[in-house]
């Protein structure tokens, strides 16, 4: 082994060029394979309830019988008011008519809750979102009002359907819960006009962090311990319960909350549960992997998947319960599930903290925790760092590409650890070890990263109708800008000294260093986003400035390379995904801008300030071989 290392030292070509390439590629391959291994039984675990206090499904749920009559009554009243409102000309875009809105208010008041309202208004991408939240509080009769649970019913579900039965169920439950004396926490019933902005306005105001366009809350309770969102947007009975759990920026609720919901729905109520729209989950490898990947996509994109998502940034565990399918479970079964869930949350003595916050679910009862899956994204991020370090060492080793390995053999052991040392060696022996010319590469790399703020600002402030055009314009910019920069660099325009090959290596080294650093940090926060960006950036590790062949060949090869790279540019990837999923670019960008303005979504920052600069510099390095 020592002999092999000594041998390697004598071959700097292998040590600094081939080996890093092999290692980087290995990292990427292992990283991807690692992810593919996760669904196997050997690498995943069965879920379990960590928090002793939860005791899921240990109580009888009494929400039946006469409560159903109350439910029907409320539903009828609201239905009539909604239809009357429609006839009077309330547009279909608004889910709730003023009369129905007032009815909710009066029902809550009649049930004996303290009721308050909150108006809000958000403007994003030129669209104004406004509405009024209503909420009522049941004060725990024997509790101390220091903690609370939230039940949310939005008039429009996450899929923009009218959530009439969900709202009615919440109203019926508020009347029913009020009569129990066993609550240790206050229970807040929140009715929002939609699933996107209403809860965000409410939760921001609850913590006094609302923007000026959102009213403060006149009525508050204690620290929120958990939130459940009720959806029931159809008339027929349902078969299974779909648990939606992804939060903004890929934050997740404590796994115990999901486990409790699954245990109660599956164990106590005897209905099935689904995750990630996997309606038919046969627990096979493919189904598990698909569930993981769907979860990772949502986590990576970081958008709000329902009204529950807004709670996550405040460390409030929340899930949405969506009835799905055709079956025999009625609204009372959903009500009992929620009752049992509330009793479990009521048992809590402290915030949910025992179980995992970082996990990937592959089945309702199977997961991998961060310790198992994190190496996957870390390896991919690590490949950039390895390459960056190798390039850094190489720039101190070669003065330029013309020097031959034999000439350096004698001093290879001392090599280029410090600049000073290299300098003295250069003087004494006249060997080609160069000083690193860092000023220009550093300026370029940091400048281009700052340039990322321009598209970030642009795509978050433009009005929504310009998004499609702006995206196409940006595609063109992405083609032209690298060539322009490459031409500028090689002509030495504005630079006192002409650019040397070592500087290209340094440029690449710095950008990969920054990329590796950002992605490995990001992996601990949002694994999926780091993984996706890492994969999309993977080719950047292997891009080189072509020098050896003749000019026409270099021109041809780099043109093909640039074309391929352009296929992986942020706007092209966006267009490709939109084309594949059939969603319009405008709606995606509008949603993204809304996420930035309202939810506090950070995905764009990663795209425009980490991915795009790294991609751009990669293109510049490749494009420079043309000139």
């Amino acid at each position: 082994m020592p002999a092999a290392i000594r041998n390697l030292r004598n071959k700097p070509d292998v040590l600094f060029v081939r080996l890093p390439n092999v290692l980087s590629l290995l990292c990427i391959v292992v990283g991807v394979v690692w992810l593919l291994l996760l669904p196997l039984n050997e690498y995943s675990r069965n879920t379990y309830i960590s928090e002793n206090a939860l005791l899921p499904g240990q109580v009888h749920a009494y929400f039946t019988g006469s409560e159903q009559n109350i439910f029907r009554g409320y539903k009828k009243e609201l239905e009539v008011l909604l239809n009357e409102g429609r006839e009077e000309g309330v547009s279909q875009d608004v889910a709730v008519t003023p009369a129905a809105h007032n009815k909710v208010h009066s029902i809550l008041q009649a049930a004996g809750l303290k009721v308050a309202t909150q108006k809000y208004e958000y403007t994003s991408a030129g669209i104004t979102h406004h509405g009024e939240n209503i909420y009522g509080i049941i004060h725990a009769p024997r509790g101390d009002a220091t903690e609370a649970i939230v039940l949310v019913a939005a008039w429009k579900t996450a899929d923009d359907e009218l959530n009439l039965k969900g709202v009615t169920l919440a109203l019926t439950l508020s009347r029913y819960f009020k009569r129990w004396s066993l609550w240790s926490k206050d229970i807040i019933f929140l009715f929002t006009p939609d699933s996107k902005s209403g809860t965000q306005a409410w939760i921001d105001a609850y913590h006094d962090l609302q923007p000026a366009s959102v009213q403060p809350l006149p009525l508050k309770s204690g620290a929120l311990q958990g939130a459940l969102v009720i959806e029931f947007p159809f008339e027929h009975n349902f078969r299974s319960l779909h648990v939606v759990y992804d939060g903004v920026n890929g934050q997740l609720p404590n796994l115990d909350l999901i486990n409790t919901a699954v245990a109660i729905a599956g164990g106590q109520m005897g209905m099935g549960t689904n995750l990630q729209e996997m309606w038919e989950h046969d627990d096979s490898y493919q189904a598990r992997l698909k569930t993981i990947l769907r979860g990772m996509t949502k986590q990576g994109l970081g958008y709000a998947t329902g009204a529950h998502s807004s709670f996550m940034p405040y460390h409030i565990d929340a899930i949405t319960l969506q009835p799905k399918g055709e079956g025999w479970e009625d609204e009372m079964a959903l009500g009992r599930t929620i009752e049992s869930l509330c009793r479990s949350l009521n048992n809590l003595l402290e915030h949910l903290h025992q179980s995992f916050f970082f996990y990937l679910l592959m089945q309702t009862n199977r997961f991998v925790s961060i310790g198992t899956y994190l190496p996957s994204a870390m390896l991919i991020a690590g490949n950039f760092t390895i390459m960056a370090i190798a390039l850094w060492m190489r720039t101190g080793y070669y003065s330029d590409s013309k020097t031959n390995a034999p000439a350096e053999k004698s001093e290879s052991e001392k090599s280029s650890d410090t600049k000073g040392q290299s300098m003295t060696e250069e003087k004494t022996k006249g060997t080609p070890v160069a000083e690193r010319l860092m000023a220009m590469p550093l300026t370029l790399v940091s400048g281009l990263h700052l340039l990322g703020l321009v598209p970030l600002w642009m795509f978050n402030t433009l009005s929504h109708q310009y998004f499609t055009t702006a995206t196409y314009v940006f595609v063109v910019v992405d083609v032209v800008l690298p060539l322009l920069l490459a031409a500028l660099l090689s002509s030495g325009l504005g630079l006192s000294a002409p650019i040397v090959p070592q500087q290209y290596l340094l440029i690449k080294s710095f950008t990969l260093l920054l990329l590796g650093l950002s992605l490995s940090t990001l992996a601990t926060l949002n694994f999926s986003l780091s993984f996706m960006i890492g994969l999309l950036c993977a080719p950047l590790s292997f891009i080189v400035r072509l020098q050896s062949p003749s000019a026409p060949v270099r021109f041809a090869v780099s043109t093909i390379g640039l074309l391929l790279l352009n296929l992986l540019s942020p706007p092209i990837v966006l267009l490709g995904v939109c084309w594949y999923t059939g969603v319009s670019v405008e709606s995606v960008m509008t949603q993204a801008a809304f996420g930035w303005d309202v939810w506090g979504m950070w995905t764009q920052v990663v795209v425009w300030c980490v991915w795009w600069p790294a991609w751009l510099i990669g293109c510049v390095v490749l494009g420079s071989s043309m000139f």
Partner: protein, 397 residues
């Protein structure tokens, strides 16, 4: 005269011998400890309260029961039945009824307080209700329940008592003559490890589960929403409630321990006899009510014994003290008398002098009057008769 004296001596010796054989105790104390708080540990408090109810039923008064409850389940807002604690889903008996005396509650239930209680290292200002007033004639029942592990039992949320701590506490109790016999019962996971280090004599110990075994709850009440009792305690209670129906029950510890059914308890309960004089055969003969019931016996001491701590020695010591104080008093009054002579009349000092003259020291001598000996004989005789009658009646019962 001499023959009669010898007769009394031999009689009392005989009595002492018989007393040693039956090991009569003179009082009963119970220390009932739940060590866990929080709503989901409802069952631990219910365990202790069930046992509390049983020992009260069998006669131990509240003044001789130390009840430690770290949490208040009855008034927990989560309790669907406010003000009550039940140990059975049928909710027939409210354990938190109208006659309950909790001695240590909430955060008072700590390892330190528990050990101080056992070893009586408590401040002077600690009330009697929080003291274990047992003596060398007391049979003590110690029942503990909570969450435990290998050689430890968790107290509340932050501390635990180790098996050695407990063994040393009992060791000190023995040295300080704070128990006559002790029955230690514990219901927790790996409970049997808790009594492995006991070394002081006269202890019978029993636990719910072996090393690496969990103790399980028996059943849950679906309206209260939590498990209400542990399995081992449930079946111990079942025995106590159905078999030991009165304070005169002759069922012994052997019967109680034989009632353990592993298929019902779902763990292997253990019993430790080796610290008990005579081991298992002797220990099995102790009746259940020796520990769960109450006696109020009077210890009749041998009037002629001369060993340290005997009545005669005490009396002689008291006489010596009285004489000493008498002397000091006389000296004092002599000084006072001098001063009164100097300053004129002084009534109080006069009276003191008069008083001291009237009550001379009572002389404790060997030759007591015959009358006193007769009284003593008749008392001893009466006691013997009662004892003989009692044991005959008891056997027939």
């Amino acid at each position: 005269m001499i023959t009669l004296f010898r007769l009394i001596q031999s009689l009392s010796l005989l009595l002492l011998l018989i007393g040693a054989v039956t090991a009569e105790h003179t009082s009963n104390w119970a220390v009932l400890v739940s060590t866990s708080r929080f709503w989901f540990n409802y069952r631990h408090l219910a365990n202790v309260l069930s046992l509390y109810r049983t020992v009260k039923r069998l006669g131990i008064p509240d003044s001789q029961i130390i009840l430690m409850l770290p949490d208040d389940m009855a008034c927990n807002p989560r309790n669907a039945f406010p003000g009550t604690v039940y140990s059975n889903a049928d909710r027939a008996v409210d354990l938190y009824g109208d006659n309950i005396e909790v001695d240590y509650r909430g955060y008072e239930v700590t390892v330190e307080n528990f050990i101080r209680l056992l070893t009586d290292r408590l401040d002077e200002d600690v009330p009697r209700s929080k003291r274990l007033g047992s003596d060398a004639g007391s049979n003590v029942l110690v029942y503990m329940t909570g969450h435990g592990g290998d050689q430890f039992l968790k107290f509340q949320d932050a501390e635990e008592i180790g098996a050695w701590d407990l063994a040393d506490a009992f060791g000190q109790m023995w040295e300080k003559k704070r128990y006559h016999e002790l029955l230690f019962m514990i219901d927790t996971c790996q409970a049997n490890t808790m009594y492995t280090h006991f070394y002081s004599p006269n202890i019978v110990a029993t636990g719910s589960s072996e090393l690496d075994q969990s103790s399980y709850s028996h059943h849950a009440d679906n309206d209260v929403g939590v498990a209400v009792i542990d399995r081992w305690t449930y079946y111990v209670l079942e025995f106590l409630e159905t078999q030991v129906t009165s304070a005169n029950s002759k069922l012994n510890l052997g019967d109680l321990f034989d009632s353990y059914d592993e298929s019902k308890i779902h763990s292997q309960p253990g019993v430790r006899w080796d610290l008990f004089p005579g081991g298992e055969p002797e220990g099995r003969l102790r009746t259940v009510v020796d520990f769960f019931g109450n006696v109020q016996n009077v210890e009749v001491e041998n009037a002629n014994a001369t060993e340290p701590g005997s009545l005669k020695e005490d009396l002689a010591e008291i006489a010596r003290l009285v004489e000493k104080w008498q002397k000091r008093d006389e000296e004092y009054s002599a000084i006072l008398g001098n001063s009164s002579q100097q300053h004129g009349e002084n009534q109080p000092s006069e009276s003191v002098r008069l008083g001291s003259k009237k009550t001379g020291p009572t002389r404790m001598a060997e030759d007591n009057s015959w009358g006193k000996r007769l009284v003593g004989l008749s008392v001893v005789g009466a006691c013997t008769a009662i004892w003989v009658a009692g044991s005959i009646l008891g056997r027939s019962a």
